[in-house]
């Protein structure tokens, strides 16, 4: 359904845009219908940039992104974009920024109606909104007509997902949608993603939290400085992490019944250096991913900028 082929993104930064920042390097993966792909990495690793390229919100510097055969970079004009957004929608981390504080929160629904469903009658539209709200487990009476500051972050987040559902979308890009929510609301939103997946939706689930990345995901893509460090079936990546970076991320996840010190103690004392080049440290980080077990790929531990892949305690 969604396919990324050697996708790169270079931002121009610094005064007069003279410096280049390689935010995404040669990233390739696929999201199939009914599948959740978790895109995981530290802050600045390029997750949101990938999400924005998929949503056509920023240009693609190299490589190609295709959705059901259509080249996303080739979308031209209002009509083509409108058709694309009928099938692909995004929801972002900070739900408050998606709402205009001077209007009731449900105005986001009216905007969708004006754009896509001007022909639908009042009663029918109301019915569709209520149905969509029920899918996200919101009580229409509790949220319709309320202003953004009267609703909690979790409620606003679910309103945005309900908005996406009005369009009968095929692919949802969910960028850090749960990081600001409390535990019980998080679970509600994650269960909702699982329900949507069961209905055949494809989901690109961007997160920096690995404990949650595993709960609904089929595939995990671990991003490090813009490049894929490791990828594969989520259960394999989580139970058999191969890249030192993945291991460090996993050991930092706060877990209720295990202290960080205990997690560190469980890290292999000597992990053999680079997962691709071993202790030799001969790689320069640019090497392509190596398939270690079925569908489970891992990259060189080098810094990706030509540095050697000698074992680095901070990986």
């Amino acid at each position: 359904m969604l396919r990324l082929d050697r996708v790169s993104k270079v931002y121009r930064v610094g005064s007069f845009g003279r410096e280049r920042l390689h935010a995404v390097r040669d990233v390739g993966f696929e999201v199939r219908s009914g599948q959740v792909v978790a895109l995981i990495g530290e802050s600045g690793s390029g997750k949101s940039t990938i999400g924005k390229m998929v949503l056509g919100l920023t240009s693609i510097t190299g490589g190609a992104i295709t959705f059901e055969g259509t080249d996303v970079a080739g979308l031209r004009g209002h009509r083509a974009h409108k058709e694309y957004y009928r099938r692909v929608q995004g929801v972002f981390q900070d739900p408050f920024s998606s709402f205009n504080p001077v209007f009731p929160a449900d105005r986001v629904f009216a905007l969708i109606r004006a754009e896509y469903f001007p022909e639908v009658g009042e009663a029918e539209w109301r019915r569709r909104i209520e149905e969509s709200l029920r899918v996200v487990r919101l009580d229409p009476a509790q949220v319709l007509g309320k202003y953004p500051h009267q609703l909690s972050g979790g409620q606003l987040q679910r309103i945005l997902i309900a908005r996406a559902l009005l369009l009968d979308i095929r692919l949802l890009v969910a960028d850090e949608v749960i990081s600001m929510l409390d535990a019980s609301t998080r679970i509600d939103v994650l269960n909702l993603l699982a329900d949507l997946k069961a209905r055949g939706m494809g989901i690109l689930f961007v997160t920096h939290d690995l404990s949650l990345g595993n709960y609904v995901s089929d595939t995990a893509v671990i991003l490090r400085r813009g490049a894929i460090a490791e990828s594969g079936p989520a259960d394999r990546v989580f139970t058999n992490p191969l890249h030192p970076y993945t291991r460090r991320l996993l050991s930092s996840v706060p877990r209720l019944h295990r202290t960080w010190a205990q997690a560190d103690a469980e890290l292999p004392a000597d992990d053999g250096g680079c997962p691709v080049h071993g202790r030799a440290g001969a790689g320069d980080g640019s090497a392509t991913l190596v398939e270690v077990e079925a569908g489970h790929f891992v990259g060189c531990a080098g810094d990706g900028e030509g540095g050697p892949c000698r074992p680095d305690p901070r990986a």
């Binding site: 979790g154 019980s184 269960n191 595993n214 989580f238 991320l249 209720l256």
Partner: protein, 319 residues
């Protein structure tokens, strides 16, 4: 840990709105020992930030209805904003929620710090050496002082804010969701730095606010759980996590996804329902509508009582 450093009794704070008063804190009472790191957890809207703000600066919409706060034996004039000035930053310091994104983008970090110090009556030169020493401790070079906020990563900004808010060694630091927007490895580094600040005596005690009880449990000595404007449980982190007494705490803990749990194997459930509105909060136990154990008596308010040594809960069934 020795002695009581913070003593909050019957603290009640409302927000004035056009539709009436929002009862954001109602009869909050608890104590903290010297050197204690208390994790404060609870659902969004439960009053965590309101409690933090009440201990240091109430905004114009907040109203101190009743209750007292004593710090190291001395009563804080929390209802009187002018009288609170000498305490702020020197004795009680707050890192507000979203402070990281609130740094003024047009000021270099160094200039911003100097201005802030001056506004608190401190000569920047007098704490310069200490500032550099502490920046170094959190892995930042003096260079950051010349940078603009946009040039720093989230974790770097958060560390600057932490160093700044503890520079005068306050008795109490309130850290409100300081790591929620950070990735797991940066979150860990920042949280551990706060513990180190306590160990070095840069702060005597800390209220660490977070919606993530697993994170709180990594660094806190005690945990207090809030629900709809009231504390429902407080105890050592060990006791609250392994032997929670309040039904809300129990449900909160069982809704946590642990690494490795997948939706396909076991669908976790959130806590059904939502907290009561605080414009006109219900009488009796505020958790009653969502509580599986609720019975007749719960229409009377359960007191926050010591159910075990050092372990408090507000539930008729917790005794």
């Amino acid at each position: 840990m020795s002695g009581v450093s913070l003593e909050v009794s019957d603290l009640t704070v409302h927000y004035r709105t056009l539709r009436g008063d929002v009862h954001a804190l109602e009869g909050v009472g608890f104590t903290m020992a010297d050197g204690e790191i208390m994790g404060l957890v609870g659902e969004s809207g439960s009053g965590k930030s309101t409690l933090g703000k009440s201990l240091i600066r109430m905004d114009s919409r907040m109203r101190h209805v009743r209750g007292t706060v004593r710090l190291d034996g001395e009563e804080l004039p929390i209802g009187d904003q002018a009288a609170m000035t000498p305490f702020r930053y020197h004795r009680v310091s707050l890192i507000p929620q979203y402070s990281m994104s609130a740094l003024n983008p047009t000021r270099r970090i160094g200039r911003m710090i100097d201005e802030l110090l001056e506004s608190r009556g401190v000569r920047p030169a007098s704490v310069r050496a200490e500032l550099l020493r502490r920046l170094d401790l959190v892995g930042l070079s003096g260079q950051v002082l010349r940078r603009y906020p946009i040039e720093l990563s989230g974790g770097m900004k958060q560390r600057v804010v932490m160093v700044l808010s503890t520079l005068l060694d306050p008795s109490l630091l309130i850290a409100d969701e300081v790591t929620s927007a950070l990735d797991v490895s940066t979150q860990r580094a920042v949280a551990q730095t706060l513990v180190e600040f306590r160990d070095r005596g840069y702060l005597a005690g800390m209220i660490f606010v977070s919606h993530d009880i697993s994170l709180v449990n990594q660094i806190a000595d005690t945990i207090m759980v809030m629900y709809a404007g009231k504390p429902v449980e407080k105890g050592t982190a060990e006791a609250v996590v392994n032997g929670p007494r309040h039904p809300y705490t129990r449900m909160l803990i069982s809704s946590l996804p642990e690494v490795g749990v997948t939706h396909a194997e076991r669908r976790l459930e959130g806590i059904p329902g939502s907290p009561p509105g605080l414009l006109d909060p219900p009488r009796g136990c505020r958790f009653r509508e969502r509580c599986p154990l609720a019975f007749d008596k719960c229409d009377q308010e359960p007191p926050f009582v010591e159910v075990d040594r050092g372990h408090w809960a507000a539930c008729w069934k917790a005794g």
